[in-house]
Symmetry: C2
Subunit: 455 residues, 2 copies
């Protein structure tokens, strides 16, 4: 039961004709089969435990690509192939430490830190300096010359009061992505960034730091939220807090990677493509289970279910597992850059919000496009995934927007995502089997109805 069945009148969303009744039957078949014989969780468990994390250019990256390709072949996907992508190769150092030190440089306390992805290393002996706590960029600007020679400690907390945690993340992540460039402009020697997570925990949450080419690059590290709180408290009572940050991470020349592709070919219009995708790369902490192993498995499981049930829609559903979403988006850009003269992409759906219970879809399109898709909510009401609204779709498919492709995001519960995000806790143990499977079912239904009906 849902809102749809209660609040009259929503006649336009009530199934009335025989086609809608047939569609409801197919959607139910997908859900029932998925919940009884789904393979999403065992697949993700295997992916996480046998491959592990998959940072671009790493051994795990290559092995993940191979695993995904073989899995699609095993399930008899059509046109399984790789499309080559050149990716950045950044490698976390064997050393990444931060200590609070006294004025003689003696260690007082260690801090839980992780180099931000793409950070430059420190000198071998580390960078030692006073820290300067900064909450907003405006505050940084007002401090101006005081920043010189300091380690800027960006300590803006995640805004937990926003119901959807993604905007909460969006309101905080700028200090991680561009804090180093901003601080370097004022002569800072390094940045320490509060992990972008809504919980107080002991895990540094990594992520990309973006430098500005015209400015000095300075080392950048994430510090756990609990240690960030400790530092902030110390700064209230201590005249000065000095930190020594030491990291030997390294950026190598670009490396070879690939987008991984497979299909369920359409029965009538195979050259009209409904793309469903996730990204196969991950950060080098944890196993990349929610980010974005879950998305890759959603995509494979969605097509596996349709094949298993002999549901072959009119148009082609193409699974694309993109390379390098985390630190370059090279996979998404490369896919969009390929000329595909004999094909037209009607829509692309991305799953990159974890493996939590699905709640609907976000349509990044015109009002007319939304009005075309939203009435299909009746197909998702039995699984309470019927919130079809305007919203962002996904990073990997964003380069397709300029090519006129309608992009859509799978929408899920967001309460837990950023507890795991980019941290060593993003492992299979944090994924619930039923929630993951429901996501695959929702994706299968949306891919199928789009491929059947077109847009």
């Amino acid at each position: 039961m849902s809102l749809l069945l209660v609040l009259a009148p929503i006649a336009s969303s009530q199934p009335t004709d025989s086609l809608q009744i047939a569609y409801i039957a197919t959607a139910k078949q997908i859900l029932t089969y998925g919940l009884s014989d789904g393979k999403a969780y065992p697949m993700l468990r295997e992916f996480c435990t046998t491959i592990g994390n998959r940072l671009s250019g790493s051994v795990g990256d290559a092995r993940g690509i191979d695993w995904l390709k073989k899995k699609m072949e095993q399930y008899n996907f059509e046109n399984v192939r790789l499309e080559p992508v050149t990716v950045p190769k950044w490698v976390r150092g064997t050393t990444e430490t931060a200590f609070i030190v006294d004025r003689n440089g003696k260690k007082i306390r260690s801090l839980r830190v992780a180099s931000l992805g793409m950070s430059i290393p420190t000198p071998t002996k580390g960078v030692t300096a006073e820290i300067l706590e900064v909450i907003t960029f405006k505050q940084l600007d007002s401090l101006g010359p005081l920043v010189k020679g300091k380690i800027v400690f960006f300590n803006r907390a995640f805004d937990r009061t926003i119901f959807n945690t993604f905007p909460g993340y969006g309101a905080t992540v700028d200090q991680r992505s561009s804090g180093a460039a901003r601080a370097a402009a004022y002569g800072a020697v390094a940045v320490l960034v509060r992990s972008v997570t809504p919980v107080i925990d002991d895990h540094p949450h990594t992520g990309t730091v973006n430098y500005t080419d015209s400015l000095q690059k300075i080392p950048a590290a994430a510090v756990s939220t609990r240690d960030a709180e400790v530092l902030s408290e110390m700064l209230k009572s201590e005249k000065a807090v000095r930190i020594r940050l030491t990291m030997n991470c390294h950026t190598f020349p670009d490396a070879a990677s690939a987008n991984v592709i497979g299909e369920l070919r359409g029965s009538e219009r195979p050259n009209e493509i409904i793309l469903i995708g996730g990204h196969h790369d991950s950060w080098d902490k944890g196993q990349g289970a929610h980010d974005d192993g879950a998305g890759c498995i959603h995509v494979i499981e969605a097509i596996r279910i349709l094949k298993e049930l002999n549901i072959r829609p009119r148009r082609t559903i193409r699974a694309v597992m993109f390379a390098n979403e985390e630190n370059g988006l090279r996979g998404g850009k490369a896919y969009a850059a390929v000329e595909r003269p004999n094909e037209i992409h009607l829509a692309a759906i991305e799953s990159d919000v974890g493996g939590f219970a699905p709640t609907g879809f976000t349509v990044q399109g015109t009002k007319d496009q939304l009005n075309r898709i939203a009435p299909w909510s009746y197909l998702f009401t039995p699984m309470e995934a019927d919130r079809i609204t305007n919203g962002g779709s996904g990073a990997d498919i964003s380069p397709l927007v300029d090519k006129g492709v309608l992009t859509i995001g799978l929408r899920e519960r967001t309460e837990r995502y950023f507890e795991y995000h980019h941290a060593e806790t993003d492992v299979i143990g944090g994924v619930n089997e039923r929630e993951l499977q429901l996501g695959a079912c929702a994706l299968a239904i949306m891919a199928w109805i789009l491929a059947e009906e077109g847009i």
Copy 2:
């Protein structure tokens, strides 16, 4: 954003007048405060770790009552009090074992079992007999005389294909609750019941067994789903599988317990009551975190938030934490049996579906009553808890239905509930802070609007 804002026309649910706009502001205030300064999780953590489980008549039961009363006093609830309830007192034995044995009685393999609550014990040396696998009661009836002298092994699996796991539970739990009485009618000597959980795990999930007074009582135990699968496999190849079940659980004379009550008195019509409740007793496995520590904390936190924000609605909101939901419902019956001549109960809301993300409310009332409440969904849309539908409310408040009280259930995501239910895994570690807090916010908003508007 939600369905409400997308699918036109639902004009009746769109806030249009100034009162609705003021209501939205209050609901937002409750949500924002709850997400920034909520205490639901630290409260539940303290309740679970300092009190532990709370089976009726146990030391934990008494300590839980005391803790809840003190917590309400600490937060300055009004009219904090206990109402005495006499409860059954059943105590799990120091021994509860099951072994597969050979024809000489030698142990071959142990099984993970737990006495069902209220079960009689076995003789000291146990009950040893062949097991007879039964899936449906119809099958039991058809076996008839073959049942005599056997241990009936009820092995109907949880129906995972039903999206909402509560009906899935409902479709399976009868073998636990009435299997023993049914099997005893055919001369069975004991029953072993597959744990009523959708997952394959190693934890027996307990729960009440109901005997029929006119029939022999026989010992009843739950077996873990993994061991149930093992037994079922064995029965496919072995001619006979013999089990020795030994349990020394015991039923004592009834004991003293209490319903725990506190209030936020109404400003204009204090004698009109909106009851919000959960049950404070739990099974003696785990910590009763989701079942129903979460409900008790939802109730306390909901009123704490309203008090903290100085929101005093016209009518009284009364928190009732009921005794003995699990094995007797004596608390709910006792509360309903008390004559309260100067009061009228307008509505009662129960939280007894765990501490998962709230999705709305189920109204166990007339169509008119639903039509009165469902339009308030706009207050819950910002937190995606706006599914207000017909449905069951809660066991503890069910005795109020006959007294003409409208009963309502808090509705939550159901994917994970029965993984923890009645098992030793139902501990604070299985509860997510944000999900729990959202439930308290949803309950606070519904209690407040009901107390403000009446019904």
